[in-house]
Symmetry: C2
Amino acid sequence: MAARALAIHIRRAQQGDAEAIMATFASPRAMAGTLQLPYPSAEIWRKRIADQGPEDFMLVAEVKGTVVGNLGLHPAGRARRRHAASVGMSVRDDMQRQGVGTALLLAAIDIADHWLNYTRLELTVYTDNIAAVTLYRNFGFVIEGTLQGFAYRNGRYVDAYTMARLRTLPAAPVSATAQARQRPQRKAAKTTRKRTAA
Amino acid sequence: MAARALAIHIRRAQQGDAEAIMATFASPRAMAGTLQLPYPSAEIWRKRIADQGPEDFMLVAEVKGTVVGNLGLHPAGRARRRHAASVGMSVRDDMQRQGVGTALLLAAIDIADHWLNYTRLELTVYTDNIAAVTLYRNFGFVIEGTLQGFAYRNGRYVDAYTMARLRTLPAAPVSATAQARQRPQRKAAKTTRKRTAA
């Protein structure tokens, strides 16, 4: 019998979510899978939520009124890297593999593609986090490299994949002036072809 | 006839260097090879030099009293990435291929290895910047991946290599207490061996 799909609600993080985010990182797998530290602090998360810039998106996934996962979508750089954003994500250990990560990523990619016009999404993921790597691959992320000894985790240095999801730019905007300039040219070309055919 | 080697003096950047650093980034190749922008600003560099943290190293290379190159060595992250630092470097166009980059890198790697105990140095470099890639390779950096469309440069998106130089950790420090605890054990082992041999 297939499990009934969870009702997952995605929204922007707010001050009151700090405790729930802390609880997510108090679950060992979620903490180890990121760059977070043991003994997470609600205070640090309150500050992080408050300090977001206008282009920072900290999203949370709510199941039955409880926040069980979070995702950050942040500009990867300024000016010459304005097309790129970085993604980081975590789901509370007891809520993993139930579609929470998928729901968070769907929401993030929707705003990245359709509103923020990012054409390059980047992330790092530990090479042994198979579930996460598979999820990212399903969303079109590809492995661009392997960063050796990227971070320290439970007494050892671990490698990470650097992954990216690339999107082709939509057709560039064309100004009314440019369109007006192009129209007569196209007509002229057609006329030429007609003349040749005649 | 071989060119005489330049006398290159490496030191920490200071407020008065902002104009010379600006001049470096006003030279087109140096600007394009980084994430810097056209029309560099001495004001931004003055602020950047002033805002350095205690673990940020902004070094400059001086030739005949003029700063012609700069290098930044910065912590790559906190806590779980404390072993890693990132490197970024630039040499004024008319002073390239004269050993300035080598002198800057030598200085940075010396402090990274012998004083700051970084075991992972990271950098990104545009894939078509052959001279820089070769220099980094000569210093033990390896290509860990290729980041597609990493940055925008003169009207196009360009790929970058992510490179790293890994160093094995020196022997771990042994406390006086641990040494004292080990000594009698070693003596006991010797005695045992003697007894067996007898």
